[in-house]
Symmetry: C2
């Protein structure tokens, strides 16, 4: 039997509210066994760009990561947020190790090719991107890796990658050696049947009812790519994908995804 590994991803909303972030840290610290944390960025980076007079670059409504933006997100994600989380986890007795993909070359990304849009310094991942050997060594040393959304191309260039994508890629790569559960944490207790009712959590979604939920519009917007990532991870051998509230990871009510 493979050993268990739990991978948690937290997003921007919770990072912006320090009290909530510290409450998540408290709950995450209590989770037994090998675990990994992946964090996105908060709106601190955009706020700082605004304060510095750096206008966000948008093309067709999509955010472009130019050199100035990359600098700022690297500072926030790999600097402020990552180290704040690592120090807080250490304060709770978790031997956290902050990582970008460049550190130990643990994640190697490819700059997104320029087609209709040049997204700038955005890094895409593929099946060979995750260096699972070194991550396993860190886990054997009883370290808890804490990944930010900054990777590199192996030639000296840093790249910004979506944090959901990083979490799913880690889960897939590490599922060869571990029974991985992948936890997407956000500000609801799961996928809601009725968006206005926080308790209307759909507790189980399979590939079968996923189609219906999409067609009926219950699953839409930001939840769609999250679930696409999730089902792909399950198909690659990840044991379980959970969508849950970052401040209630210790409670039962959540959405669990299964292939069938």
């Amino acid at each position: 039997m493979k050993p268990e590994l739990k991978i948690f991803k937290i997003g921007g909303g919770i990072i912006d509210r320090e009290a909530d972030l510290m409450e998540f840290v408290r709950l995450f610290a209590k989770i037994d066994g090998p675990k990994i944390l992946v964090h996105g960025g908060g709106k601190g980076a955009s706020d700082m760009m605004k304060n510095l007079g750096i206008a966000p670059q948008l093309v067709n409504g999509r955010r472009i990561t130019d050199a100035a933006a990359l600098d700022i997100v690297t500072m926030f994600y790999a600097g402020k947020t990552n180290k704040q989380l690592v120090a807080a986890l250490q304060g709770r007795g978790v031997n956290a190790l902050g990582l970008s993909g460049a550190d130990g070359n643990v994640i190697l990304a490819t700059k997104r090719p320029v087609r209709e849009i040049d997204y700038g310094f955005v890094g895409d991942l593929n099946e060979a991107s995750v260096n699972s050997g070194l991550i396993q060594q860190f886990l054997h040393l009883e370290l808890t890796p804490v990944f930010c959304a900054i990777n590199h191309d192996g030639h000296g260039q840093l790249l910004n990658t979506n944090a959901d994508t990083i979490a799913a890629s880690l889960a897939k790569a590490l599922s060869k050696e571990y029974a991985v559960s992948l936890h997407f944490c956000f500000e609801k207790r799961g996928v809601l049947e009725d968006i206005s009712d926080d308790n209307s959590v759909i507790e189980k979604i399979t590939l079968n009812n996923y189609g219906e939920l999409k067609e009926s519009g219950i699953i839409a917007d930001g939840m769609l790519p999250k679930l696409e990532n999730a089902f792909e991870a399950l198909q690659f051998g990840v044991s379980k994908v959970v969508i849950e509230h970052a401040l209630h990871i210790n409670e039962e009510l959540k959405t669990t995804l299964w292939l069938n």
Copy 2:
């Protein structure tokens, strides 16, 4: 015989000039055997504080690290500079691992006690600060640790520590297991006999002639704490301390310090 370990410290000046920093990376990448890099911060952090309208806090002419300043230096040192260096080293084939003291709890600092001056979030180190066991594990994994000047207190608080102090503390702690040479790199080829003549390098300084050099004023200002750190490191068992030009680490002309 202990295995060799080379610890290099680079300062702020070189970090501000990207072409120089990349030349240092090229030279550092060529150094054989286990090695560690410690970097200070450039003036990017002060520039950004200025741009954001955050006034530097000075008491009796000494810089105070308040919460706003700590945020910015954490972003620059642990974020931008550390990840830029790690990515550039990876591009040169060095498996660099960026670290603050909080990561893996490798360096545990103590907030400087408030006496006449409250320095704010400044971390002092003592003999037990360096977790040399985990650093050795990283070296056994053929990783090259890259330390920034951010540490933590073990209770969730990040702290800023002088990079020379970090380099010397690492050298002392690791000298139990390694024959450590500690390299302070800056913008001169060593300690100069005549400050206006870049080639007047004093190639050897011992504890004996150090006193004379201080009295004659040849060693003054910023060089004094560097040399105090250096001799203390030698007394703790560090094999060799070198003061040299960051862009000429591959050349012979440099200052080497010995106990006698």
